[in-house]
Symmetry: C2
Subunit: 417 residues, 2 copies
């Protein structure tokens, strides 16, 4: 008989991915299978928990079919937040409040699915639990399309975003060849400081596709003049030129390229200035100065929510890291993040392990300079070999009436107190 | 034994769709199966033919596997053009040139896969063949994501674009709910004069999704003030508001909404001014005047090239109209376009028929006003019932190394003369 455990709570934080709910499914199912009494879900992460907004997940995930649907549901099922806890020394009250809510719910295990900032939350909560003698165990479950988390070979969420980018880049390249007229297409890809996603456009290159002509990652300083010169040269040689740029490419003076536009300033759902307009700016400049037809295509939010095409490797690993976090916490670990360790490239084998969250939080992993070519306009074969295993195989959406089915959050919100 | 037939030539014209190559496959396979000696493909449609650019398709489509890949390859495999033939009375020379090229190739059957403008080409060529006593038969094969062709229940290409729009609209709606912060998202959907694609966003509405809040089609005059008022009202009631607008929405004075921006003027691959910026303009206005977070998402070219998610009904019908065109031409028809006739809604049954191309060319079919609600901000149930059968089922991409495989055009161009 499975040992009966105390209660579990799980939250999602930061930008969503196409597979973040697979990690939630992994936490939920493993916790239930291993005897957790109740599995609570925080609504909108720690921010929602502070307002005592949470649900009993069993009221929402009622069957194995629901678990399969949850794995295939885009965006954070429980809602997310961008909320950084203060330093413990600056505001102990907020910590006391969190722990009193957790105690009231008889929570013994706390899981947080997120990126850098979210691991900071795990770090602080586990530190505080040492200070106040709490027995609650805190574990981080990695996720981010940006792949910028330290210590782990890669982050769940990245593989599916890379697969999506590779697939649509192939389609857009093909689309650019349709008319017998020279044209330049600029693709704008997410990534504020790290070029993992932009580099993934190189996946398009293969036996049936030339791939994009150039890739510009934020790791290399962007020079507008040399960019224009390169485009002009390519334009002389090729009918259709396709260039991918990261939204985060920066000039030598530190300004983002998108800041060169006099355009509209967008603010995203959590108040950050959106780095949008880089492709538009460059496409317009090419149109004016090179004199050819141009297109600017923003890959936009679909990069983090296109659950209609996901990598099976990714969605499986996302589930696994959720499950591993539960297993480790139940065995006594706390203040750790689950990481993925690549044991072998070919055949691809990856296992989970644990890592001290103090060494992960707030550290940003960038693309190594040696994985970008010397000219700074493409990634190396090593880079592509690194991503390729992460985009393998598919998990077919469950289609109803012609469209992918998701698990609908029914908003049965429980407020206590 | 199959009767040996003369040579066939086929071309693709106008904007591509995700399934236009399925029609090409239908023409090729049916023509070969029914005894055609050679099947030529014009490169870049009639414009390429005038430069004697064509290929022997058997050198490129070598196996049944190639046919399956071709069906799943986005964009026009043979390349496309935007080229309108002059009136016969204005320039007989160009017609003589075309017919002399066709005669040299011993072409007896001419197929053109396209929309309104392309049917104009079939009309003029078949008219001219009557004048000059040519025995060549000319048949039109319908395609367009815009669904604006007359006489046919719908056009191949529309179902897949609608399925894509429905699927990603669901994902984006879900994504908008992720943060506990009010936001408005404006989706920009293709359709210069007809709202068939924008209306397809309503497909997102179902048991697991509320669907978009409002839809604005070009068939109804767009009023910026009343739009802003409606958004403001929704914003008061809902955390996340999602509105889809057609790129072609127009003000009462006839100007496109996107012309209100002082933004960049884009020119597309064939020199038309792109109707881009509507969503950006509206999102910025909402951000400024309503004061909430906004996002503008352009669904962009993916609408016409997302072959990674297609409707099986659509891709099958695309193949069928190609095959039907061959069958009809081989049986003696000329100057006709293949149409789809819906025999029954439930169960959905659609058959092919022929229609006089003179009655089709240059006629634009819009969304009937009664399929848009009185307020002009959503489509009716009838509209959704009309599209729903067209998006059913999938044709799985053939995946290699993690990405959809396409048939690569190897550029074995044959030039004669």
């Amino acid at each position: 008989m499975t040992e009966v455990r105390g209660n579990v709570i799980v939250g999602q934080s930061g930008g969503p991915t196409a597979v973040i709910n697979s990690s939630l499914a992994g936490v939920f199912k493993t916790a239930k299978d291993r005897g957790a009494r109740k599995v609570y879900g925080m609504l909108h992460g720690i921010q929602g928990l502070l307002q005592e907004r949470y649900v009993d997940l069993e009221e929402h995930i009622k069957s194995d079919l629901d678990i399969e649907l949850l794995k295939r549901t885009p965006s954070a099922y429980l809602g997310s937040c961008r909320f950084k806890l203060p330093e413990i020394c600056d505001d102990r009250e907020i910590y006391d409040k969190i722990f009193s809510i957790l105690d009231k719910l008889e929570v013994e295990y706390f899981f947080y699915i997120g990126g850098n900032d979210s691991m900071d939350t795990i770090k602080k909560l586990s530190d505080y639990s040492l200070l106040n003698g709490s027995k609650i165990r805190f574990m981080g479950v990695p996720k981010t399309i940006d792949n910028d988390l330290a210590a782990t070979d890669h982050t769940p969420g990245y593989g599916s975003a890379a697969k999506y980018i590779g697939a649509i880049t192939k389609e857009v390249i093909r689309d650019g060849l349709v008319y017998d007229q020279q044209n330049v297409t600029i693709l704008e890809i997410m990534g504020r400081n790290a070029g993992w996603l932009t580099g993934a456009a190189a996946l398009a290159k293969g036996e049936d596709c030339e791939g994009p002509d150039m890739l510009f990652l934020p790791e290399v300083t962007f020079d507008v003049d040399s960019f224009m010169k390169k485009v002009e040269e390519l334009h002389k040689k090729k009918a259709s030129v396709v260039v991918a740029v990261s939204e985060g490419v920066k000039l030598a003076d530190g300004r983002y390229v998108c800041e060169l536009t006099d355009g509209i300033e967008f603010v995203d759902a959590f108040g950050h200035k959106q780095l949008t307009g880089t492709a538009r700016f460059l496409a317009e400049k090419i149109n004016r100065e090179v004199g050819c037809k141009t297109r600017a295509i923003e890959f936009n939010s679909l990069q983090r929510c296109a659950s209609h095409i996901v990598s099976r490797v990714d969605i499986t690993e996302a589930f696994q890291v959720g499950g591993a976090a539960v297993k480790e916490a139940f065995e006594g670990e706390t203040g750790k993040m689950i990481i993925l360790k690549r044991v072998s490239d070919d055949p691809y084998v990856c296992v989970t392990d644990i890592y001290d969250v103090h060494k992960v939080a707030n550290v940003e992993k960038k693309v190594p300079r040696e994985w970008i070519n010397e000219a700074g306009d493409y990634v190396t074969e090593e880079f592509v070999n690194y991503i390729r295993p992460l985009i393998q195989a598919e998990l077919t959406p469950i289609m109803t009436d012609g469209l992918p089915r998701h698990l609908y959050y029914t908003d049965v919100e429980k407020k206590q107190g």
